[in-house]
């Protein structure tokens, strides 16, 4: 059963700023869903509408089949971790966590017990009597998590909860959040603009771009089966290399041709490419799908600009037809004096329509 459903959801700020444009989304019970997209694409707006902090301009939000458009935040049974943490500076950690429980008129013993429990889970037991200003960023973040867990919500909303932490802490908190989700089983919507965070946490990822949904899928689907140029570009680091080519047909065989190379296309794509013969399309190569080759087998040469050693592998930055190309190679040799490198395709690539930027095959 769907736990949460967004139907035709639209948000217009101040009469003319279209922040969310008719999105539809269904989230299953217990799912960990990540909203991923660049800054300003409407992730926070979506989340705030679900929480009830922002009016819905058009469309409907259902939680467990019930229309909640006109319910107050407190009537929706959601819990939220804010990007700024939004823990109250004039209350001790204990009182921050106990706030919601006190409002619910829970008994003193029950409050104590609950606060202790979530504080233990979030590793902040020693700090219950401190004020937030006496805690580090990571500890404050844990307080926000503990406060959100204390109410035992049906739906967790997290708006870039890790973005204010340093890199190392971010990775360890990521694991903690995932574990917490496993334990509580609460449906979770997690917002981030960091694709590696999204990939490692999500059951499913929703990729957003300027107020619309580009693609919904598991991390693997999103990566290996990107539906649009935007997704192919946004997911993966380094991102997909796009090369303009023309589809030509010679003796019933299709080729991708430009000034640098002519690549024979697998016959299984013939049907889909039928309408594109003699037209311009865009080829997308993931960095690991362009590989170093011998001079005999090469598809083209790139001019090497620089090599970024990453330890286990190197990122080679080069130029092809004056566009930047990045490839990943696990050949860790000294490439200081190399000017050009022969490259070939390993046969895996995306083909996009140049106009619609949608994937053809």
């Amino acid at each position: 059963m769907e736990f949460l459903e967004l139907k035709n959801l639209t948000k217009i700020y101040q009469k003319d700023i279209l922040a969310i444009d008719k999105i539809d989304l269904k989230i299953k019970d217990g799912e960990f869903l990540v909203l991923l997209g660049p800054s300003g694409c409407g992730k926070t707006t979506t989340m705030r509408m679900i929480a009830g902090l922002e009016d819905v301009t058009e469309g409907e939000i259902f939680i467990e089949g019930k229309l909640v458009n006109n319910l107050q935040p407190r009537e929706r049974g959601v819990s939220m971790i804010f990007q700024s943490y939004a823990i109250w500076p004039h209350m001790t950690v204990f009182n921050n966590i106990a706030y919601a429980l006190k409002i619910k008129k829970m008994s003193k013993e029950k409050i104590n017990e609950t606060v202790k429990k979530v504080a233990k889970m979030s590793n902040i037991e020693e700090y219950l009597n401190r004020y937030p200003s006496q805690l580090s960023g990571g500890q404050q973040q844990r307080v926000a998590v503990a406060r959100a867990m204390a109410v035992d919500p049906k739906l967790f909303l997290m708006d870039e909860p890790l973005s204010n932490l340093d890199a190392k802490l971010r990775v360890s908190m990521r694991t903690d959040l995932k574990e917490m989700h496993k334990r509580s089983g609460a449906t979770t919507i997690f917002v981030t603009h960091d694709q590696s965070e999204a990939m490692s946490l999500a059951d499913r990822i929703v990729i957003m771009n300027t107020g619309t949904i580009e693609q919904i899928g598991t991390p693997n689907e999103i990566y290996h089966d990107s539906k649009t140029m935007f997704v192919a570009d946004f997911i993966g680091s380094p991102s997909t290399n796009f090369v303009d080519v023309k589809i030509i047909s010679k003796d019933n065989k299709l080729f991708a041709k430009n000034d640098a190379f002519e690549l024979p296309i697998d016959d299984k794509f013939n049907d889909k490419l039928h309408g594109y013969i003699d037209k311009d399309v865009v080829f997308g190569f993931r960095p690991e799908n362009l590989v170093l080759s011998s001079d005999e087998e090469k598809l083209f040469d790139i001019d090497v600009v620089l090599v970024e050693p990453q330890g286990s592998h190197s990122v080679i930055v080069g130029r092809l037809l004056s566009k930047q190309i990045k490839i990943v190679s696990d050949e860790v040799r000294d490439m200081k004096n190399i000017k050009t490198l022969p490259i070939k395709s390993n046969g895996i690539y995306f083909i996009f329509d140049k106009e619609t930027e949608k994937r053809i095959c």
Binding site: A51, R74, F82, S84, H90, K104, S133, R147
Partner: protein, 346 residues
């Protein structure tokens, strides 16, 4: 590293010391003046510390007592008066030297000198003589203290109530004419209180509020509402709206959120505003002179006392009386002011 530290610390303490001196010297000057006797005021050179007692010499000569006082500057006794009228001595000791004795005590002590030898006496000065005099020569000084407290209290209540409402709406809501409203508030501040006092008097008389503390407080509040709105709007703006939103999410209503989150966070700002309101009301004498001459506040009483008497020591006593409640008020709210200067981050 060490030397840089040293320079920084030295500069810091020099700065603090200068500040202290700049503040403390005038304070010391009028506090000490307020316990001077009339005789000391005309002392030259002026003593650093006020005297607590006087060394007197009494001589019996030609059926009269000669009263002299020891003048430390010249290291000799200076003749003050000659008389055998005990009333004259009593009044002189009281008014010029702040020594409070009755006729018999004076006669008993002085008569010892009739044996022929001059006698030497040390009399304690009454340090609070000027304060007592201040209250006894100004009629209804006690009532005026109550008046001042009332006027200040009402000013705080009125300006906090209206000012913080205005401040909250400026900070949290978008509405037509918002920038004009903020500007208007500033313009209101530009009028000197005296300028609006006279037209306001007409209104107050019509409302039967002339010579009342509420009426006075309404006039004081005009400028203070604007100031309070400015201060609180920036305080409310500074309170991250997500703190309120988190409260909604975690089950609170609008009212609960305002009471438990917004108000406590804005509290230090409220304290600062009430301090401004208090000081504006407490220190004003001109507006009070126009609006409430028949029912004066303390500062008006002191203003009149200073204006009509040449006794600087009495004026100093009045000034100290005016300052004390303000000091007490400040010390009470000191903790909250500390909070305002950054002990709690919003």
């Amino acid at each position: 590293m060490i030397s840089k530290n040293l320079i920084v610390r030295t500069t810091f303490y020099l700065f603090i010391a200068t500040m202290l001196i700049a503040i403390l010297i005038p304070v010391f000057f009028f506090v000490s003046t307020s316990v001077y006797s009339e005789y000391e005021v005309y002392d030259f050179p002026r003593k650093f510390l006020p005297r607590t007692s006087f060394d007197l010499e009494i001589e019996w000569e030609n059926d009269q007592y000669n009263l002299s006082v020891f003048d430390e500057a010249n290291n000799e006794y200076e003749l003050l008066i000659q008389s055998n009228d005990m009333d004259r001595f009593r009044l002189y000791l009281k008014r010029s030297l702040s020594i409070q004795l009755n006729n018999e005590e004076i006669e008993n002590d002085f008569s010892l000198s009739k044996k022929g030898e001059p006698i030497y006496l040390t009399y304690k000065k009454d340090l609070f003589y000027n304060y007592k005099t201040f209250f006894s020569i100004t009629n209804n000084a006690g009532k005026s203290v109550v008046n001042s407290v009332m006027a200040a209290g009402w000013t705080i209540i009125i300006s906090l109530f209206f000012g913080s409402l205005a401040g909250y709406s400026i900070a949290r809501y978008k509405f037509a004419g918002k920038s004009q409203l903020s500007l208007t508030l500033l313009v209101v501040r530009m009028f000197p209180g005296v300028a609006i006092a006279i037209p306001m008097l007409v209104y107050l008389i019509k409302m039967n509020l002339d010579n009342t503390m509420i009426g006075l407080a309404i006039v004081y509040s005009v400028g203070n509402i604007a100031l309070t709105a400015w201060i609180t709007s920036s305080i409310f703006t500074g309170i991250n709206i997500e703190l309120e939103e988190a409260s909604y999410i975690f089950g609170a209503s609008k009212l609960q959120t305002f009471r438990k989150i917004t108000l406590p966070l804005a509290f230090p700002g409220f304290i600062a505003c009430s301090m401004y309101a208090f000081l504006a009301a407490w220190n004003d004498s001109i507006t009070a002179l126009i609006l409430s001459n028949n029912n004066p506040t303390l500062s008006l009483v002191i203003y009149k006392a200073i204006g009509s008497s040449s006794a600087i020591q009495l004026s100093a006593a009045g000034a100290v009386i005016l300052i004390l409640p303000a000091l007490v008020f400040t010390f009470i709210i000191k903790n909250y002011i500390n909070q305002l200067w950054g002990e709690v981050k919003l």
